[in-house]
Amino acid sequence: MDKFGFTLVKGRRIDYDSNDRSIAEYVSAHEPSFRICIECGCCSAACTTGNFTQFSLREIQILLKRGENDGVRDKIKKCMLCGKCTLVCPRGVNTRNVILLIQEAFRKNIKNAV
């Protein structure tokens, strides 16, 4: 509504408790290495897709862990699955399976499935 010449700005705050983290839980249950990410960003730095567009697996996984799923839904489709991230990950996260599971969870519309 623009009655007063301005509109309400939506807050940026992550409301952890009211967010839905089913997607992250689904991925974590099927690929436990999802849990051991230390946010170093190697995956994003090596990423073939990230070379051309805003795509960061590091960001995607943290958003899911916080339940900010909407920001991931479309982004996750950009991945080409080339696998460079898997090779550079210092913790040995099975990144390709993480991405496939995220895509699968969105496709299946996972909610409180785990």
Binding site: R12, R13, I14, D15, Y16, D17, S28, P32, S33, R35, I36, C37, I38, E39, R58, E59, I62, L63, K65, R66, E68, R91
Partner: protein
């Protein structure tokens, strides 16, 4: 006699130094201000990184200090040291004076008084506790909220009183990160259904097996790690704590309800140590800890010849380091006494 040594403090470093000196034939007097020896370790349940029971360490130290050459005074604090004719007069809180050829200062550390981080509401919100409070709960095997109910969501705040100019401490206490990880895992073990979160600025897991512990906490215990220092804590109408933090990895502020918040209090120069420093003219650093004569090769020596430092009175240390430091102090004392003789 020429081999009279006073050890100030009966914690880890004091006990280890006293034991080493006694075995080398010194006549050692230990003053401990509390009624029992053992320092902070006796308030701790399990120790990182191997989850050893703290009582094992106390037993080891107890054996060390149980020596014919050692006289132990508990419940007596040392107030000052004064050099006199190549030896020292050590003044105690109960008005006595004792002469020593060398002094080992092992006054240890105090935990940061978490009340000073007002925004966390320690002492105001019932369910904000410190890492030391939590260890007591572990010992009782009862992790409970103030009203006696079992907490479902527990947060651990790293760097409380460390790396914080506003709290007066620029330095890193270096052990709080690993303590938090250890405690998070222990909570998860005690309370199966609990969700545990660590709020950290950096994960400083520099010691042996620390990083492995961190990984285990992530992988097998499902501990959540949120990078960002808690900025403020409030309470809502259901008496739940509301924690505000920036999730710096998403670049967005985050709000979370928490049942029990544990503050990982940092390490500070002890009050007793400050008093001695002032009265004896011992140098202290910008961090208020005793300032060793040299950080590289004289970390046990003070600015007064014959007065030595052992353990966490010089900087935050873990038990391993404190024991090593105490042994080095004992070696320095022996060296000094031998030279004095000749």
């Amino acid at each position: 006699m020429g081999r009279r040594v006073v050890v100030i403090g009966g914690g880890v470093a004091g006990m280890e130094a006293a034991g080493q000196l006694a075995r080398r034939g010194c006549n050692v007097t230990v003053f401990e201000k509390e009624t029992e020896t053992g320092g902070h370790v006796k308030n701790w349940f399990h120790l990182f990184p191997d989850r050893k029971d703290s009582r094992d360490v106390l037993r080891y130290l107890g054996n060390k200090i149980n020596h014919n050459n050692i006289t132990l005074f508990t419940g007596i604090a040392v107030e000052g040291i004064r050099p006199s004719n190549g030896s020292f007069s050590v003044f105690t809180g109960d008005g006595n004076e004792i002469t020593a050829d060398a002094v080992v200062v092992a006054t240890g550390f105090d935990l940061f008084r978490s009340e000073k981080k007002e925004e966390y509401g320690y002492g105001i919100y019932e369910n904000v506790i410190t890492s030391a409070d939590l260890e007591r709960m572990f010992r009782k095997d009862q992790i409970r909220m103030h009203d006696g109910s079992i907490p479902g969501k527990i947060g651990l705040v790293h760097c409380v009183g460390s790396r914080d100019e506003k709290a007066g401490n620029l330095y890193c206490s270096k052990l709080c990160c690993v303590t938090a990880v250890k405690q998070a895992m222990e909570i998860a073990e005690h309370l199966e259904d609990a969700k545990v979160f660590c709020f950290y600025m950096d994960m400083r897991m520099g010691g042996a097996m620390y990083e492995e512990l961190y990984r285990e906490a992530q992988e097998n215990y499902g501990i959540g790690f949120i990078r960002g220092k808690v900025s403020e804590v409030a309470q809502n109408i259901d008496n739940k704590l509301i924690v505000k933090v920036e999730d710096t990895l998403t670049g967005r502020p985050l709000k979370m309800e928490i049942d029990l918040l544990v503050l990982m209090a940092g390490m500070e120069m002890s009050e007793g140590g400050k008093k001695i420093a002032q009265s004896a003219g011992l140098d202290t650093g910008e961090n208020r800890f005793f300032k060793p004569a040299d950080l590289h090769f004289a970390s046990n020596e003070s600015n007064i010849k014959g007065v030595f430092y052992a353990g966490t009175c010089t900087m935050p240390m873990n038990i391993t380091e404190a024991i090593s430091h105490a042994r080095a102090a004992a070696a320095d004392v022996m060296d000094y006494l031998d030279k004095q003789k000749n």
